[in-house]
Symmetry: C2
Subunit: 723 residues, 2 copies
């Protein structure tokens, strides 16, 4: 890629961003779009705009984003979102502090170097203005390398210092969130798994109750046995589906009562497959019939589930926060594969089907999944290498000669050349998250937020290994393949040597990501179009409309790894091609601003894990930092800089930092500190409400109420516990 | 070493053992020696022999040892001792089961081999009958190697299976011990360290009390602030010393009142250095004066200590076992370097001076000590290599020519030749434990038993690295030094190749250890002589006599690592020279028998850690097993056995086993399972007594009693807690 195509890429990216911004300014002021641009505020029962002024400055969102405090974010969107902003602002600060020093110092040093070593430049072999600004322009063994050497230390030390501060801050955020006096049901409960087989003559409920009552005679409140809800869930979903259809049919019927035809047309449907075949029936009658049928079925299935489908896991409720927090951290049985406990998550986060998996099965599943993911990471390397090798225009024309006339058009050619490799990459990456979420769920992880973290971890390693290392090596792989084959240990120098050649590729990648990515994010063009289409052609009832604009959450499982990829790229190139730093800073600065707006007004968090994501974020930034330090070590070796071994303390320091963080901060993320749990609660907890909040919707209904759950409670419990 | 010197060595060892046994049979029946041979029974207030029969069979101790059950051992000597016997019997069973298969199969295969490869035999190059029984006699690439290959698997699988059973059994022993209804003060207390600085306007006591009262409003009983007792301990020891001297002087005075001289001679002493210089004074008066002086001094120092020398650590008492067990496992503060807790050990085990060391200092100290120990291990290698190279008679004669006439005496020469290398080794090893205990204490470890474990770990790595690997390599080091220097990776094949050559050396070493070692152990010749000398020439008072026969404990810190060395040696040679197996089995069989007697009748355990030693024992047996598997892999390589890589699964399996054990069993050794702590207690705990049991002797005296400790207790505590 030469300089002009780089500028074209940057220019078009910015143009797209500019257009999207204008679109956003126009669209967001239309009241009909409020549900797309302000769903979080609407769901919270607030006015879309503050002050409720109708005509407002199209750029006032920027002011609002800047003026919002961390506490506002926590109040509106929870601690997890606040922690995400800590991540963005930390990386932003790292890049700004590094850029202030590195840019004015390293760029002049690089430009004025003897330079022009054509062999180390892009894969195409053309040398351009951009490459003059990078470390590739420095002659080997030059004393100028000392400046780059010191820069390595500066970037590392700044990163570690800010990461330490951030970890401290997040720990504080977490403890403050736990200390708030409002009642959180999950603070009064623990989940116990691996319950041994029921002894003769006892029910599961009796077994669990007597076990915990013996240990916590005063504070044990009640237990809820986990059941296999597969069948009851299915019936319940079917029932809910028919209920929606009934409302829809009634709305259609009501709408059809025009003044011309006051009796209306009763809607009909066919009972067969997809409503296309089978007998034609009156919809309202048919659905009512179906609903009655299913309600009875659900009721009997609920009874069966509660009585007969009890699993070897339970939720235990305590009347005291401290006891629950302490119980969640304590070993209950002599061996860990019996009565193993963990602190309960929010009720909605609990993955019931995973709770019954036994200890050793969980362990085995985990390693099997790791193995599959490792396989996936290494074998996806092959297609991505081909993608990166073929998606240059020259190659495409060779393979598909009919493209030749298109390529001859000057501008189009430049645009295509600029975007083709990046687009292929982005599309490719969009296919993965679902698979990784599915695999993480297979591990037997018991909570939603943990699944998201596990998937994010896999995705991170995937992107870093395949995109960063894959593309870097891929560009030079064909020529260096033999070299690596002969000496596999040479992968670090080969990787390091091919870094400068790919600098412009990644520069464009980062620019594309933030201009187009955040432009689309802010303008919400896709959700807007989908919403309007749905409202016009599909939705009949109000519930359906509401469903159509439901905003979703920030989906950390994919958002964080893709930010992490940028962190890795920018860190690794920060010293080699310092020009990437302002792009990285822009990415995180713009990201902070845009997502601040989205968090305040659009996204509704699906769960709250009180910042448990942070240790993972911290560790992955560290991993990127270590990758950067190792590649720098390799690159200094390639440049024949004899003092390169002086860089060895850096990765050691980073590892030590990670170790100290894990020792010092991590325990309070894994467990809840008792001094925090002992903070005053606003009100006397209503244990009955807390208990009910954990009943899944398919098992709770107006009718079955207390009596049904009594069946799943032991006689002992019924007699002695106060309800 | 040739065959005849091996036989001589074995013969003399056995002779010594036989003599010692006879001595024991004679000496133990003399009533005057009862305090040496039955101190544990006497201290427990039992008759020395069961049934109290005076004339008894000199071998009845064997019957008694065999008929004693595990429960007897626990009752007499505690769980730690029982766990030690589990270790001995487990290793014994492993060796017996391996021996039954390996001896009849491998020995004939080795003898009938084409054999006689002189290059692979002992360092002296003479080939003898013993080497014909080893794997060294098999020609390279022979199909006979398959038998040895299968033997490798057999030994490994038997070891792992029995280790698993033993771990299960020890876990059960531990839980049973905790479940006993008798009151253990340590089950009601936790120790908290790293208390933050005292806030303005509060005392340390108030700070601690209010912190724990907030978390445990109902079960918190009282706290005891750790103080710096250095000065008060010194005064107290001085006082105790003078008290003893006073009694001694009084006894001397009473003894001097003979009928001839009824007024007696008042004993005198000099006040200066060691009682040798200075003014001559009347002892009884002088000591009384000193005691009165010191009592006053002690009292005022106690007050100062309790008020002004409070440290940042405390013992917290709870009125409930489950709460204490749960509290010991829970995170109290957000960061681990504040309010860090652990379950209290027995009062006598707590190392007060180490409790004040702060979290990060502890971490740093630990790594510094590890580093020092690593240095010690690697630099002791140099002297031991010389020891092993020089302590052959030929070398000694070369260096010390005046030894020549001695060497010419046939039998003496054989004996010397047999013992010299082993004796050097044994003396050398005797110097170490003190240093290692001191170093472990420096780490900041808070309990005695943990210090013993830490020292045992260091000692194990020391002996294995220096004795086993050092001697093995040492014998061949001079010739192979260049080889290793050129390719450090070759250490495994070099080690493996030099194994068979040293087989007889280690055979003799094991034989010497069990015959002479256990002979001395059982006959207690050294303590007996010391006791009689002391009683005759030193002891005047009854307390002094009692002190002279105080039996001490089993001192696991040195006993277990030296057993472990035998385990390592026997395992590593089990397949190469199967003849070592019966010797190993004898070592552990005889050890079991002799120590059973000693545990029942002699040693008094200094502390009880409820089998916490076991995970360490288990891991070290595993380490030996892995060392064995790796050297076998190397040795099969030396024998050019192409299927050697099929041994690779073995170390992986061992590592996996260790990992599973750590996951499954270890948590209940680190923490107390709540279901165990919830077991019924016999009586309502007298919290005051429990509290008092933790007061160190130097701080408790008849006079200062409650009032003094009240000073260190907060006002809050005095008002609300029931005493």
């Amino acid at each position: 890629m030469d300089f002009s195509s780089f500028c074209t890429s940057l220019g078009t990216s910015f143009l797209i961003f500019f257009v999207l911004m204008i679109l956003f300014a126009i669209l967001q002021s239309k009241p009909g779009n409020n549900v797309v641009y302000y769903p979080n505020r609407i769901l919270k029962g607030l006015e879309p705009f503050e002050g409720g002024v109708k005509t407002r400055n199209p750029f006032s969102w920027i002011k609002e984003a800047f003026s919002s405090s961390e506490q506002d974010i926590i109040a509106v969107s929870g601690v997890d979102t606040a922690v995400y902003f800590v991540f963005q602002s930390t990386v932003f600060s790292i890049l700004v502090i590094c850029g202030i020093i590195l840019l004015p110092v390293l760029l002049p040093i690089a430009i004025t170097a003897a330079g022009g070593k054509k062999t180390q430049t892009t894969s195409k072999g053309t040398f351009n203005e951009l490459d003059q600004l990078s470390m590739g322009n420095i002659t080997a063994k030059s004393t100028r390398l000392w400046a780059f050497f010191i820069a390595c230390y500066w970037v590392s030390l700044v990163s570690l210092f800010l990461l330490w501060k951030a970890y401290k801050h997040v720990t504080w955020l977490r403890s403050e969130a736990f200390k708030t006096p409002d009642l959180k049901p999950e603070q009064f409960a623990i989940v116990v798994r691996d319950i041994p087989p029921v002894p003769e003559g006892q029910t599961r409920k009796e077994q669990v109750d007597s076990y915990f009552r013996a240990i916590y005679p005063e504070t044990f409140y009640r237990s809820m046995i986990i059941t296999d809800n597969k069948k009851v869930n299915k019936i319940w979903e079917e029932l809910e589906g028919f209920k929606k259809k009934l409302i829809r049919a009634e709305t259609v019927f009501a709408d059809s009562k025009t003044t011309a035809k006051p009796e209306g047309t009763r809607p009909t449907n066919k009972t067969g497959w997809l409503g296309l075949i089978g007998k034609k029936v009156d919809s309202i009658e048919y659905y009512n019939e179906k609903i009655n049928e299913l309600v009875a079925k659900l009721e009997s299935e609920q009874k069966i589930t509660l009585k007969e489908k009890q699993q070897n896991a339970a939720i235990i409720f305590f009347s005291n926060r401290v006891v629950a927090a302490s119980a969640a951290q304590s070993l209950h049985a002599q061996t860990v594969d019996k009565w193993s406990v963990f602190g309960a998550p929010e009720p909605c986060q609990l993955l019931w089907p995973n709770l019954k998996i036994k200890y050793f099965e969980r362990e085995v599943r985990q390693y099997v999944v790791y193995f599959i993911v490792a396989l996936a990471i290494f074998f996806y390397m092959i297609p991505i290498t081909f993608v990166s090798a073929f998606t240059t225009l020259k190659n495409l024309v060779k393979i598909l000669p009919f493209l030749k006339p298109i390529v001859k058009l000057g501008t189009l050619r430049t645009i295509l050349e600029a975007y083709l490799p990046q687009l292929a990459l982005i599309i490719f990456l969009a296919l993965l998250p679902k698979l990784l979420m599915f695999l993480s769920r297979l591990e037997g992880i018991p909570t939603e937020s943990h699944v998201a973290r596990a998937a994010a971890g896999k995705y991170f390693y995937f992107t870093v290994l395949n995109v960063f290392i894959g593309v870097t090596l891929g560009g030079t792989l064909f020529k260096t393949f033999k070299q690596i084959q002969n000496k596999p240990k040479d992968i670090v120098p080969v990787l390091a040597a091919s870094l400068p050649g790919n600098a412009t590729f990644f520069l464009t990648f980062v620019a594309l990501k933030f201009f187009v990515g955040y432009g689309l994010e802010l303008s919400r063009l896709v959700p807007l179009i989908i919403f309007h289409l749905k409202r016009k052609y599909v939705c009949k009832t109000e519930a359906e409309v509401k469903e159509a604009w439901a905003p979703g959450d920030l989906s950390y499982a994919t958002r964080i790894p893709s930010d992490m990829l940028i962190v890795t790229i920018v860190l690794c190139y920060s010293v080699i091609a310092p020009l990437i730093i302002p792009f990285g800073a822009l990415y995180f600065g713009l990201g902070w601003l845009v997502l601040r707006n989205q968090a305040l007004k659009v996204y509704v968090p699906a769960y709250e894990s009180y910042g448990r994501m942070w240790p993972h974020i911290n560790n992955r930034i560290l991993a990127s930092l270590i990758l950067y330090q190792i590649t720098m070590f390799g690159y200094f070796g390639v440049q024949k800089f004899y003092y390169a071994p002086l860089l060895i303390p850096l990765p050691i320091l980073s590892l030590l930092f990670g170790f100290v963080c894990a020792k010092r901060f991590y325990p309070s993320f894994e467990n809840q500190a008792l001094e925090v749990a002992a903070a005053e609660v606003k009100e006397v907890p209503n244990m009955e409400l807390i208990f009910r909040s954990f009943i899944p919707p398919s098992l709770s209904s107006e009718k079955i109420d207390d009596d049904q759950f009594e069946d799943a409670r032991s006689e002992v419990s019924r007699q002695t516990s106060f309800v």
